[in-house]
Amino acid sequence: MKEVIQDIIIRNSDDYIINMGPQHPSTHGVLRLELSLQGEKVKYVVPHIGYIHRGIEKMCERDTYQQIIHLTDRFDYLSAHMNNEAVCLNVENALEVEVPERVKYIRTILDELNRLASHQLWWCAFGMDLGALTTFFYGLRDREVILDIFEESFGSRLLHSFNTPGGLMHDIHPNFQKRTKEFIKYFRKKLPEYDQLLSNNVIFQMRTKGIGYMSKEVAISYGVTGPSGRASGFSCDVRKNHPYSAYDKVDFKEILDTTGDTFTRYKLRIAEMWESMNIIEQLIDNIPEGDYTAKMKPIIKLPVGEYYQRVETSRGEMGVFIISDGNKFPVRVKFRTPNFANLFVLNKIGSGNKIADIVAISGSLDLVIPDIDR
């Protein structure tokens, strides 16, 4: 019999409640955390979500599969490309379309670039949560280089609906490979700076080590995926377990750690940045020639059935569940977004710490609020 993990919140009417959010600098969006305080100590955390619920799942029911793509950008806007890819892969699998090799390679490279950009932004925001304001600008400075590469190829910096069922919208820009290689070279020099500035800093380590411990059992039971889950030893990397695109062709490590505190989650993301650069370097010179899209019908009708596709976004496992009745519109589209589960664990690992720790823990979970609210 497995141990049952419970953390039912028991509320008292005379609790000293302060609200962190919806309008608060450290919740990274419109999230509301209800903190019950005892002095500086937090007794429990109740997250309230839904402030930017847009009904995307309902909207998907009246959209064709091509049109769904641009909505998925807007969940986790920092890993827009991976979200796009989830839907595209699902549709391609359902139709049993074989996409060209070139597309697979490009998608993988873009995934990793996007992951790098996302982790950079997370790094700046995490530093800022802990009061190190300069990190914000260093992270954004390096992220800007990636966004420039994106802009050249996709025309937009953040929400690039670049994937389409069957392939890509365009071919990559002729400069893409050159600039990506330049970026990797540049960022390999800049990433150690992150460590000097923040990771090795004694104040930072004091703030994060041993804070917000999450065990492997908790991570699995709460469905915490992505770097946050892997920091607890939950081997949840979809890229490794269920390879898609060109991930089965590259040699990379799934970075795992078992310490499970805030500092581990931090270190793991930094390590993932190194690993992402490795993946890109393996692929960038070997992009095969070919078409940038498979032949697709202008109106896509999925065969009747239920399809589930998982991809690894920069925050964890993203799942797309499509139910089709054979029409051009899906019957139901459900998005399993990583942050939804990741936020729920906050009370479990956050209660009992101080206010400042809640900020650090929620920062280390790397929450993106639109991803939760959908």
Partner: protein
């Protein structure tokens, strides 16, 4: 009149005599007070504005940005524009706030910094009040501002403010010990508490050089503790933007907020000039005993330049801290003080006393 920028004593005397000889003593004193008042008011405002500008520019360059560059050349009038904006902003009254204390708080923080400025020695003879317990007075007055912060947080009727205020209370009272004890090291070296006396004692070398190791330790501790006492840098727990939105001044708007802002920068200036005075020789030029040639060259630089140069150096250090480090947590902050700085400081004092006893410092 004998005016020279190396020694203001004769200048102030001349003003005093001129006034006294031309009018009744009472009127002379009143005129004198008005002149001093205006000069200091102007000085206060200019230093405040410049420091705000300097911090913006320094943090901008550290963060690979340009910083203010719109209002005037290099944006030097940015802070003036901000001041005007803050003056024009509405003063919002908060429901159920303790109005009297709420309005009193900015007065206290500003008055505390004004009282501290009164005792600062800017140059030879350029010091409003030269107490015989000058450093003790500064030490006392500069920590008065925390009362304003406590009142502000308490009276706002906001939970964030309250937490910020209480944190700041615990923080400032703790770090005051370290400030006092690290200054005590120099008092033991100099054997006087009068600021002019302490500066005179550094004529042949600053205490940080003469007092070598223990003075350096005291200087570092003073830097840390005074940064904490001014609620700055990695110790800005009372504001703690990412936790308490704006901490104790969450509810303050317009010009009332501006005073907290101004007071923070003035306090930084005050502690920096205390550090400059105590450890770096104040307005004393850089002298090494015996090297008469170099000492003579150093003497050409006016004392007021020396004073401000050293103060700016310390201020830059404090800005450097602020824009590099993450914020501490409240329990770590107090740990740092009670378990590290205070014991180290006590040891350091004993070491200083021993060195003075044996005469092992550079005379």
């Amino acid at each position: 009149m004998d005016f020279n920028i190396y020694d203001f004593t004769s200048f102030t005397k001349w003003v005093d005599n001129a006034l006294n000889s031309s009018m009744s003593p009472l009127l002379a004193i009143i005129i004198e007070l008005i002149i001093i008042g205006l000069v200091f008011l102007l000085f206060y405002a200019i230093v405040g504005l410049l420091l705000v500008y300097a911090e913006r520019k320094v943090c901008a360059v550290i963060q690979n940005r340009y910083g203010p560059n719109r209002v005037g050349p290099f944006g030097i009038f940015q802070t003036i524009a901000d001041l005007i904006k803050l003056l024009m902003k509405e003063l919002i009254n908060i429901k159920h706030a303790d109005n009297f204390l709420f309005n009193l708080a900015p007065f206290i923080v500003i008055i505390a910094s004004f009282m501290a400025i009164a005792a600062l020695p800017f140059a030879k003879g350029l010091q409003a009040i030269d107490f015989n317990i000058g450093i003790f007075y500064l030490f006392a007055v500069s920590s008065l501002g925390v009362i304003g912060i406590l009142l502000a947080g308490w009276s706002s009727n906001s939970k964030y403010s309250l937490i910020g205020a209480i944190r700041s209370g615990a923080q400032v009272i703790s770090y005051e010990l370290s400030v006092g004890l690290s200054l005590l090291a120099i008092v033991v070296f100099a054997g006087t508490m009068q600021l002019s006396g302490i500066i005179e004692s550094q004529a042949d070398g600053w205490w940080i050089i003469k007092g070598h190791f223990p003075a350096l330790v005291a200087f570092v501790i003073f830097l840390i503790a005074s940064t904490a006492e001014t609620n700055r840098g990695p110790f800005d727990l009372a504001e703690a933007e990412s936790e308490l939105t704006a901490g104790f001044h969450t509810e303050y708007s317009g010009i009332k907020f501006a005073f907290f802002f101004l007071a923070e920068y003035m306090n930084m200036f005050i502690v920096a000039s205390i550090a400059a005075t105590m450890f770096l020789g104040g307005w004393m030029p850089f002298h090494i005993a015996g090297w008469d040639g170099m000492n003579a060259i150093m003497d050409y630089v006016p004392p007021i330049v020396w004073f401000f140069g050293k103060t700016i150096f310390v201020i830059l250090m404090m800005m450097w801290f602020k824009w590099t480090f993450p914020r501490l947590r409240i329990d770590q902050l107090l740990n740092l003080e009670w378990k590290y700085l205070l014991p180290l400081n006590l040891m350091n004092i004993v070491l200083v006393a021993f060195i003075v006893l044996m005469g092992w410092y550079i005379k």
